[in-house]
Amino acid sequence: MKFSIICIAVGACLSLMVCGCGRHAGTSLTVAGSTAFQPFAEKLAEQFMAKRPDVNITVQGGGSALGIQSARSGAAQIGMADLVELPPEASELLGVTVARDGIAIIVNPENTLTNLSLEQIRGIFQGAIQNWKEAGGSDQPIRVVSREAGSGTRASFETIIGGITLARKAIIQDSNGTIRETVANDRDAVGYLSHGLLNAKVKAIRADGVECTENEIVAGRYKLVRPVFLLSQPPSAGAVKDFIDYILSSEGQETIRRNGLLPAK
């Protein structure tokens, strides 16, 4: 009895492996990197493949650092990176800004505070300001929630507000979603996440008096904005160029806007 179950399981695994090896005909592209842009890339790839059945695009996550690394090594034809400053090793790659993303500072809806200056944000995330009272709020300890080391969102955030070292006591969460949950559940928490992922469970705070909305970001008044780069080996040609061109076309940009990111221009 047990043996036959094992046999079936082994057989199933083997057949899965065999099926997995099947390749589609035509050009295949691998896009890897930023987890924040991954769902957008998947959507865009789907639309692009509907138009160009000869191209097969696989989208993988892995983070911005991995995106740069795999574009350099050739493991992926296109790397996605959402960093304010690309690291020096990316200089040999061709980078195209395909979208922009605002980083919203979020607090619990019960928090009465509505505005923080960049100076205050810096102080809070560095651990210099530890009580909401010091930032104009009620007398409660501040609980900083941040992304993990190596996250593109965190690297961008830290660069934009001025090269800080994160407070030691910060709680670490490994995705935009869990940051949002943590802040939504904790009255004293403050965190940051991609503007496209804001919802009613958390409150976005004004930075230097400017609200985190699409209009303010497009107008250039909201300062916490990072670009999303697609990186490829020069010279850009063939399916890689076609796909990037498609993303930059009005249809591609409209998809990006509709799903919560901001167009490149």
């Binding site: 082994v10 892995g62 080391a149 190596g150 670490i172 943590t182 928490a189």
Partner: protein, 285 residues
Amino acid sequence: MHQTGDKLIKWLLMALAFTALTSLLLIAIFIFKEGVPFIARVGFKDFLLSSDWQPQAGHFGIYPMIVASLLVTLGAMLVGAPLGIACAVFLNEFVPKHVTRIIKPTIELLAGIPSVVYGFIGVVVVAPLIRSQFGGPGLSMLCASLILGVMVLPTIISISTDVLASVPNAFREGALALGATRWQSVHMVILKAGRSGIVAAVILGMGRAIGETMAVIMVAGNTPQIPHSVLDSVCTLTAKIAIEMGSATGAHRQALFAIGVVLFIMIMMFNSIAMMAIKKRFAGK
């Protein structure tokens, strides 16, 4: 004909058995190959005993994570071991056999619940409770210990009940014949007779607790600091690896493998101690 079939099955089974062994070996080789050179380069002391973890700046100290893993595991044992052993004693000594036959599989079913479900309950129920009752961030060592304590129950209970069931009935009868009450026979005779087996059960539970990842990431808060109270957020070794693996490259990635080496050795140690305890028990008979 029969002979050929027999042989075929024998070879097939042997191949399957070796697949398991080989994959264990390959995993071990891979982790050590990536991790050990890193530890050698950074230095044993700077890696294990420094509390500065800043991958971007090239600081890789995992001391807070080691402390956190051990403390969370200890906490889980403080919750899980008394509960588990008490439950095993109850099931073995105080309840008719047919009731045990229903309750024990039910408890073992607990082991089948995905850890993300435990973590979710921790985030939604336990952490807010801790936050409102005791203060602090809620996502804390206490929360992780409570959740893990429940998660190790199936391991501890099922091994302990087996151990207690294997204590010969003559021991019970002897104790009762000498005028001991049921409780006296339990704690003076039966638990003593099964001691090493119960120790093994607890140690295997520890191995489970220290290796648990998903639930801990969700409830521990993942702050890489040395905790000053049970209400502080902590980051365990497993959580560190899982959280940063996705975005780590270069030395950072190797550092995570090196953490894997440390975990590997710790869990090996736990399992060896448990096995020794079990062996001692059967050797003593």
